[in-house]
Subunit: 624 residues, 2 copies
């Protein structure tokens, strides 16, 4: 039976036939790699995801982490399958898959790493969160931390002994990070008045995934906090934010585990989905523990260590934001993809009803995949999840270019594309692969709505993705308010140049001419609308409908990505193997679906934007 987690055939198509991942092996960083080592890494991911992650996905959902009290304070109990799966993940060296060999890493290209990791996200997004947060944390420290911080915290994370978190939000500061109030006070009181560079943190952090558990020896919190000025006040705004390491258990000078730090679990959030990931409210410095500082005094306050420069916390955290956001997009794709494969399997095996032209009730029922409306729902899912996977892997490929392309120009080129595509790579899958899950339920009918089947969980899990790592609305503002204006529009022009190259190639292929013309028209309008929005001269009006802009832009980008895939597929329709020809036919049909059914949805959006509609801006609170 083919895997219902992901399609390896599609991954191979994207990696090798389209994105030419093998050519990366000519770069110095990847010179020890080959298609064989890439495949072996993905094989490992597929195997562990299939054998150890997928089997407890439902159990994790139905037995979510819960608080248990103990002598050392409240802790979180998690079903044992999670630890077993994570041990296998860590033992396979996957935490360090992208890291330097020097750190025990595999030095895999980002595009291959993400392709492999997609298996875990699709198999069990709840369990996957622990290592992927750890990887994000380790990457941030790798970039901004001191040598000693890397040695003390990154190395154990890469070895799977410590897990990591990101502590950004607070109850009163979610999207508006500038309003955080967690304080980081320089540790003073050492006899000679000098400090050891440590701080004491006080405050409450909200939505901390992986914030408390016993899955690892220690938890390394990366915490945003504000250092008070000489007047004791916090600097308003993002400029006052600094980044700190706050370990759950403090380390001794030799890196061994020492005393308990003053960071404690204050409560768990109970989500609609993503239930396998413990999600915590953490209190820093409430005095439950009184760790002894460099001055030898035991007192309240979570001891933390500044990472990078003071007041540059957000910038340091945002180093990793592109990758984190592509990760969210990939997670949304993975859930959509596995839902699609479940729906496809169900549709092939569930007999129900008959064709419109052969309704003889004495004849047996047909499998529902024979109904055009079911094919519509499957084709829509295929176009969303394969489009989304292609988009996120394209972005991962850009990360590799950014890191290893031959010249600074090429690396900058990749950065520009990555910067403008990141809001799309995060938001588009979060919207449309959730819709894919919605359709997967619909294909299953009443069965899909029950917890006896799997697809309703994917739908619940996926609903998080338009919210975290920047809401849909925030990414609209990021794209229209920031990214398309950066460098006087250079990012947008760079992307347009790439689209044009694709259009030029499509123009040569009869089967794709219609699609190429449609995309050319839409892309031209998108440019015109962007200009028109800024000619208004009133930022409130320019940005009022930024979410629509994001959605129109996203659909245009994915149409381009589909045209790219179609260009590969169309050239292989004469493949000698029937099954291969069918695969390419499917790619072309999904591309046709996207161009006929999806891309036209952009037209009314662009018309609305072009009209500088103020319906929402004009609406008054009192009129609701």
């Amino acid at each position: 039976m083919p895997s219902k987690i992901l399609s390896r055939r599609d991954l191979d198509f994207l990696l090798y036939e389209w994105l030419q991942a093998e050519t990366l092996t000519s770069r110095e960083r990847y010179v020890d790699h080959s298609r064989e080592t890439f495949d072996a890494a993905i094989d490992t991911c597929e195997r562990i995801a299939t054998d150890l992650f997928a089997p407890h996905n439902k159990k994790s959902d139905q037995n979510e982490p819960h608080v248990v009290s103990g002598p050392a304070g409240a802790s979180v109990a998690i079903i044992p399958e999670v630890k077993a799966a994570l041990t296998a993940f860590c033992d396979a060296g996957l935490v360090a898959a992208g890291q330097d060999v020097e750190f025990g890493g595999m030095q895999l290209p980002c595009v291959v790493e993400k392709a492999g990791f997609a298996y875990f996200l699709a198999a069990n997004v709840g369990t996957s969160a622990y290592p992927f947060l750890t990887i994000g944390n380790a990457n941030t420290l790798q970039k901004c931390g001191t040598r000693q911080q890397i040695e003390h915290y990154v190395r154990p994370m890469l070895e799977g002994r410590f897990f990591g978190t990101m502590c950004l939000s607070e109850p009163q500061a979610g999207s508006s990070l500038s309003d955080i109030t967690t304080r980081a006070e320089p540790e003073t009181g050492v006899a000679d008045g000098s400090t050891d560079g440590s701080y004491r943190l006080f405050g409450n952090k909200m939505w901390i995934s992986g914030g408390e558990h016993d899955l690892s020896d220690n938890i390394v919190h990366l915490v945003l906090a504000k250092i008070p000025g000489p007047d004791g006040k916090l600097i308003p705004g993002v400029n006052g934010i600094s980044l700190f390491i706050v370990p759950k258990i403090l380390l001794n000078a030799d890196g061994s585990l020492g005393q308990r730090n003053d960071v404690v679990l204050a409560g768990l959030n109970h989500k609609m989905g993503y239930r396998g990931t413990t999600n915590c409210l953490l209190n820093f410095g409430e005095g439950k523990f009184k760790p002894t500082g460099a001055d030898g005094v035991a007192k309240a306050g979570a001891i933390g260590y500044l990472v990078g420069q003071a007041h540059k916390g957000l910038a340091n955290m945002f180093h990793m934001m592109n990758e984190a956001r592509i990760g969210v997009g990939l997670g949304a794709v993975a859930l959509g993809y596995t839902g699609y494969l479940h729906a496809l399997d169900y549709a092939r095996n569930r007999p129900q009803g008959r064709h419109p032209l052969a309704k003889d009730p004495a004849q047996p029922q047909v499998p529902i995949i024979a109904h055009t409306d079911v094919k519509r729902m499957l084709l829509a899912q295929k176009s969303y999840v394969e489009g989304g996977l292609a988009l996120t892997l394209y972005c991962a490929r850009l990360v590799d270019e950014e890191r290893t392309a031959e010249s600074p120009d090429l690396r900058n080129h990749a950065t520009r594309l990555l910067d403008i595509l990141t809001p799309i790579a995060k938001s588009w899958p979060a919207q449309w692969c959730l819709e894919a899950n919605n359709l997967a339920i619909q294909v299953h009918g009443g069965y899909g709505y029950t917890r006896e089947y799997n697809v309703e969980q994917f739908y619940r899990d996926n609903r998080l993705n338009p919210i975290h790592e920047g809401t849909h609305g925030i990414h609209g503002l990021d794209l229209l308010g920031r990214k398309v204006r950066l460098q006087d529009g250079t990012l947008f022009r760079t992307l347009s140049d790439e689209v044009q190259k694709t259009l030029d190639r499509a123009h040569q292929v009869t089967a794709l001419t219609e699609h190429g013309q449609a995309l050319a028209r839409t892309w031209r309008q998108l440019g015109d609308v962007t200009q028109a929005l800024y000619l208004v001269g009133d930022l409130n009006k320019t940005l009022a409908n930024a979410s629509v802009y994001l959605e129109a832009f996203g659909h245009a980008v994915v149409a381009w990505i589909w045209l790219e895939q179609a260009l590969v597929a169309v050239a292989r329709l004469d493949h000698p193997v029937e099954q291969e020809r069918q695969f390419y036919r499917g790619k072309l049909q999904a591309c046709r679906y996207f161009f006929r059914w999806e891309l036209p949805k952009v037209q009314p959006q662009l018309d609305l934007l072009a009209s500088i509609d103020t319906t929402t801006l004009d609406m008054q609170d009192e009129w609701f």
Copy 2:
């Protein structure tokens, strides 16, 4: 604090300012009623829904019905608040709200009854299912049953002593009811070879809401089954289907409770939402109980009584289908509506972020309703839920016309409108009020995704509505394949005439001219597309994209409904009370939102249909 269940102001607007419900009191059936009695009935609904239904909505979700074994077989345990709420509902006489005074009913118009019932659906859809299924069951029997059946089964249901179910689906026959295999064998063996008109039923029924519980003294199952022909075989197709009463506990001749019938709980389905409603797999005639039949022999087989004519079961069941489907639409609206009110309340009270032109971080944060993107999400919800409520109440008003209009012509006119609008009234709210719940979560951000808040449950509950009482796809086929063709297109023309009347009025109002023109254009195209689809001469192609047709048709209908509301509102903008003027402004802004943001989505759908696109039809199983 205003109610977060429904807006009474909006209900009053729809009932009295738009639908002129008061004029119904001139009809003989409603002559004892007045605005005061209507309001009193709705007051009662609002009070019981608020005091007894809403408070246990979350508890019901978190403590769903579960199977307990007892000496009399498996039973279902339900939290006690459900029984208390239902007792209050029954004691207030609401089961018989629409019934004749002769049966202890209130003889309320359907439009008033539905307005009141919307409170229960919004407050607690899980608990509401029990009485509403009972009402549907009672109405069916009232229409098709014998005098004795009505006396024995309907009267106790109206008094709240018995509850009712509908047993249609089977594990192998969901959408395709023609494939049911439950057998109903005439009870024979009475000494003289004659029968007493009873049957023995054998088979398995799936998805039976309220199929087993201890909330009432008895459960009256209405069961679709097939009577074998002389050769013992079941007639294939829908023509073989008959309708039966199968009580859980058989009645003695005097109507008192007698022996246990051979219908038993085989298992529960565990749904994503709607968890408060027990949903069962029931086995009929498996022999767990061996009731004694008219022949004095105790044996396996669930004893049932034919309702109406043999082989006319589906037609008898479908008598109630229009109302049941409007009920589903209303349930979807109610969930969308309460979600919207929760989101509105949250948006007014949650401070986060600042305006694009006033980003000084030293200033306090603004409530999120000040952000244009949040207003967009609230306005979208408002346009969906108020549009949906207007649509479903309009249909309920048509039921009243169908029953009580002065002439047969007027009654037929109402029936025609009702027939063509029913697929819309069911499907449109199921799609768009679910989207409203999606947006309600988004407005809440991370909090909305947690079970500590209410909106995620509404979203889960509402996801059922595109599936039950005919899936989305089935209603597309019903509309395009049946309704628009009936009577040579008379239904569609009748609806078009109504739309034209509205357009004529809108044409006189400057503020609504733009909207009127847009709707006129869309409606004309809708007619053209309908014709074009049938000129194709290939039913497979005609019906291939029926779901898109349903969606385009639905948006056009709701645009019309919004224009109707706007015509009322625009005439009242000079109301002396400021708050009233704001209410009407809100109506007009939501109408403007629908016409600027929503109706244009129909254009690419109509273009797609007009092109007779065969992308989905052409797709092959092997290409997936």
